[in-house]
Point group: C2
């Protein structure tokens, strides 16, 4: 009987933890990591702040977990395209366009993930996830170099260059000043312009012929 | 008399602040931002921890100032080359090689500046300095596009791509695991290999002919 009670309790804990993470992710998507406070989140979840600290040692740990969850979703979505069908250059172009579009669709979250100044625990996750992205691009580069579709230097270095270029190209367009300018109706680069510039940049950089896809 | 005393006191404060910053910079160059503690620094400077807090509100503010000072030095050194003599492609290549060499010469500091997980105040400075680098590259791209030496998309976006690619290409080679591998005599990419890959990547990406310089 004790065993069953414990199991039920554990199950409740797992469910509560999941619910907290979902609420936290929604907060970051709405207002960035700045909007993620332990007290505010506990109130929203209808639990005592102390209970929240039972699940996450502090804001840094919680933010890092939110970061990892949101980033893993992006890595997975990118992997589907980069490991999908078609030639390497076409897959690279489609992967870049999808990544930019997904960032555009959740600008606040994307900026939070890529560049928002935040706890060092999140910086640590950023380094790890940049490696995960680089591994994906590295795989594609290896294949493309072998098949003669790409002509570039050491694939691990070039993969890192791609990851850096992609992230940094989005920082400006997704940043709070750019969002404010757009909201005020001022001209700012659109998704199509940013995507196209990024695709051209990356394809040229890896020595690929420009793809035949419509521009 | 009171005025002169105050002036002397202010001058002493300025000198102490400068000495603290120099010591702090040396610590970061030696052991990264992790080696920068208020207490350790106060001891080294021979002052009370309370006096140190009179000059810097906390570790975040101090780290941000160390970051800004070290980064400004790099921006200035890069500006000299990018705004120097020669064709745009040659200047871009020389600027990249110099940047990589300077990072290599101070690996611990370079990794701390580019990627070490640290207080959000430093993350904020990172965003600002990446913009400063992007402005420098943007200037050169504008010139190169006008003179027909570069063929690329919107220069502000492409400049951001370059900044991201450069930073990310160095994160791996400068990272603690890579340094440990080198110290253990394991093979790891050298400065020349990283520089060459970066130069090739960036020149191709901006649509420049490969430079005539010896490789």
């Amino acid at each position: 009987m004790v065993y069953r009670l414990t199991e039920a309790r554990l199950q409740k804990d797992v469910e509560l933890r999941e619910r907290i993470l979902q609420l936290a992710l929604a907060r970051v998507a709405e207002g960035g990591f700045a909007a993620l406070t332990m007290q505010g989140l506990a109130e929203e979840a209808g639990i005592a702040t102390g209970s929240l600290y039972r699940h996450f040692r502090g804001k840094g740990e919680l933010a890092a977990e939110v970061f990892a969850r949101a980033s893993q979703r992006e890595v997975d979505a990118l992997a589907v395209v980069l490991r999908g069908t078609g030639g390497p250059a076409g897959r690279l172009a489609r992967g870049l366009r999808q990544f930019a579009r997904r960032a555009w669709d959740s600008r606040r979250l994307a900026f939070a993930l890529i560049a928002e100044p935040v706890d060092p625990e999140v910086d640590e996750q950023r380094l790890l996830y940049r490696e995960a992205y680089a591994e994906l691009f590295g795989e594609l580069l290896e294949e493309g170099v072998r098949s003669g579709h790409f002509h570039c230097g050491p694939t691990s270095l070039i993969a890192a260059c791609l990851v850096g270029a992609i992230a940094e190209s989005l920082v400006g367009p997704l940043s709070p000043p750019a969002r404010a300018a757009r909201d005020a109706g001022q001209p700012s680069p659109g998704l199509e312009q940013v995507s196209q510039a990024l695709v051209d940049f990356c394809l040229r950089a890896v020595g690929a012929p420009q793809p035949e896809e419509p521009r």
